[in-house]
């Protein structure tokens, strides 16, 4: 039987063709015709959003909350009396800003923005294993392949950037789930994250040195005709649709990515603000500055990754160095978003897959093991209270006690800030509706500004 869907997709005026024709006309004329079907077109949220976009800073390995954002004086006393293996913070905590948030000396620059931070001290996750906890943080499930948080968000809201992907992940990890952490699973392929690198122009082999623009356009049109013909034989095949859409986007990215990622366009004082002139901070500073430029272009979900937070030993030196490497860059990003009036509608989320234990681990009084039962993440901007602490761990700091937020609660809260009811953002697959938050998730209403 010939279905309406079949006709629309396989005839010479199918949806893909329409979109491509529209693009063609855009390339040909400065006065662009109105946009036609684009899977990444902006979609209205369920209710008024507080944030338009997310910058998620993923700290791979599980940063210690007990030496950074969760002040536990009882631990220091226990260490002094040599109770079991309890170990106090290796860094001194001080009240910061007008709010008096307790933040350790590991983050001197970030601490200056304490009044913009919302600490989530009652985080918990289901496992203490890197792989499972990492995947859960990114996709909401420890054990099954599911669409990632960024993919769900772009599926729900589309993107405001016309010539960039809606979901970008910079320097993602290759292990602990790897591409699953920014994949789209059963959601259409257009919603998966696009990997960018801080080096080499962002995307490998982005530029085409051999063909002129006109020649390349003819070549891409040839490929797209072949792909649409193949789609006509198998209407609705999501992989082929994804290939067609990715060619359209990739063609545009040849121009848009170098423009967006050319950090040399930034004035010296901005580069300095993000720590680009210092070898210690340059790596993460580059990610943060790229994030701001992508955010300005309307990219919906931007993930940054800082690897190396798994401090079973050498905690004092290694955690100190890690914190230093991101401290100025993050402070710079917050300050820069503030001065551009972008912090109000940009939600920054910081954290790892879990925290660290209250007792020492591989090295006496200088290392901590994994701790999923209680740890800290923080948010800033995007409709959350600043200078606010939500939740707490018990007095030894290893178990979330109040304001407890599990993985699904975190995701539900992020979606809520974006104007999405997490129970209504569903996708039908294999005979049932799926959600990022599965059958759980409570919005942390206390943190809403």
């Amino acid at each position: 039987m010939t279905t309406r869907r079949h006709i629309l997709q396989s005839s010479s005026t199918g949806f893909g063709w329409l979109a491509f024709q529209a693009l063609n006309q855009r390339w040909a004329h400065a006065a662009a015709p109105p946009k036609t079907i684009n899977p990444l077109a902006p979609k209205p949220p369920h209710f008024a959003p507080r944030a338009k976009r997310v910058i998620f800073m993923y700290m791979q390995g599980g940063p210690s909350h007990l030496d950074t954002f969760d002040w536990k004086p009882e631990l220091a006393k226990a260490e002094a009396q040599k109770v079991q293996k309890y170990m106090g913070s290796v860094f001194e905590f001080k009240p910061r800003g007008q709010s008096g948030l307790m933040i350790s000396e590991a983050f001197p620059e970030l601490a200056k923005h304490a009044d913009s931070l919302c600490l989530l001290n009652g985080m918990k996750t289901a496992t203490n294993a890197h792989q499972m906890a990492t995947v859960a943080l990114h996709i909401g499930s420890e054990s099954f392949v599911r669409p990632s948080m960024g993919a769900w968000i772009v599926y729900g809201l589309g993107s405001e950037g016309e010539d960039l992907p809606g979901f970008v992940t910079i320097n993602p990890i290759a292990d602990n789930g790897g591409a699953m952490n920014y994949g789209s699973a059963f959601l259409p392929a257009s919603f998966q994250g696009t990997r960018l690198n801080t080096g080499g122009g962002g995307v490998a082999h982005l530029s085409n040195g051999r063909l002129s623009d006109a020649e390349q356009k003819r070549q891409i049109e040839f490929i797209q005709k072949a792909n649409r013909r193949l789609l006509g034989q198998d209407p609705g095949n999501p992989e082929i649709e994804g290939v067609i859409q990715s060619y359209e986007l990739a063609y545009k990215m040849q121009t848009s990515v170098p423009m967006t990622l050319d950090l040399d366009q930034e004035p010296g004082h901005i580069r300095e603000l993000y720590g680009l002139n210092d070898g210690d901070t340059e790596r993460f500073g580059t990610q943060c500055l790229m994030a701001r430029r992508l955010a300005e272009k309307g990219v919906r979900f931007i993930q940054l990754t800082s690897p190396g937070w798994d401090h079973h030993n050498g905690l004092r030196e290694n955690l100190g160095r890690q914190c230093h490497s991101i401290d100025k860059p993050i402070a710079g990003l917050i300050a820069d978003l503030k001065q551009r009036n972008m912090l109000d509608d940009t939600l920054i989320v910081w954290g790892g897959e879990f925290g660290r234990g209250s007792g020492y681990d591989n090295e006496a009084y200088n290392g901590r093991g994994h701790n999923g039962g209680g740890y800290t993440m923080w948010m800033a901007g995007g409709g959350v209270k600043g200078g606010h602490v939500h939740g707490s761990t018990n007095e030894m700091g290893d178990t979330a006690a109040t304001g407890v937020m599990g993985t699904h609660d975190l995701h539900a809260t992020i979606l809520h800030l974006l104007g999405i009811n997490h129970e209504r953002l569903t996708y039908r697959y294999a005979g049932r509706n799926f959600r990022l938050t599965d059958v759980a998730g409570e919005v942390a209403k206390d943190i809403l500004a």
Binding site: H205, R210, E215, I223, R229, D234, V243
Partner: protein
């Protein structure tokens, strides 16, 4: 698509096809059989010749490379459906 590897491979396949010095229509048939395991339809044949910019025997190796690179980039070549 733009990687030097793709260009090298496309160039090698193109020169292999051109070595046989057939007319362009026959060469296109052979190229489809070589890459996709089937001959081109009349429509595909016409599109390929258009991309080559003519039907003369032999032809511009750079254009043949462009055609081979394009076929290597099609969903049909990249995936087994």
């Amino acid at each position: 698509m733009n990687s030097p590897f793709m260009e090298d491979v496309a160039g090698e396949i193109a020169s292999k096809i051109l070595e046989e010095k057939k007319n362009s229509g026959e060469s296109v048939n052979e190229l489809y059989r070589y890459l996709l395991g089937r001959g081109p339809s009349a429509e595909e044949q016409a599109e390929a010749l258009a991309l080559l910019g003519g039907t003369e025997v032999g032809g511009d190796p750079a254009r043949w490379t462009t055609l081979v690179q394009a076929l290597l980039g099609t969903a049909e070549f990249r995936y087994v459906f």
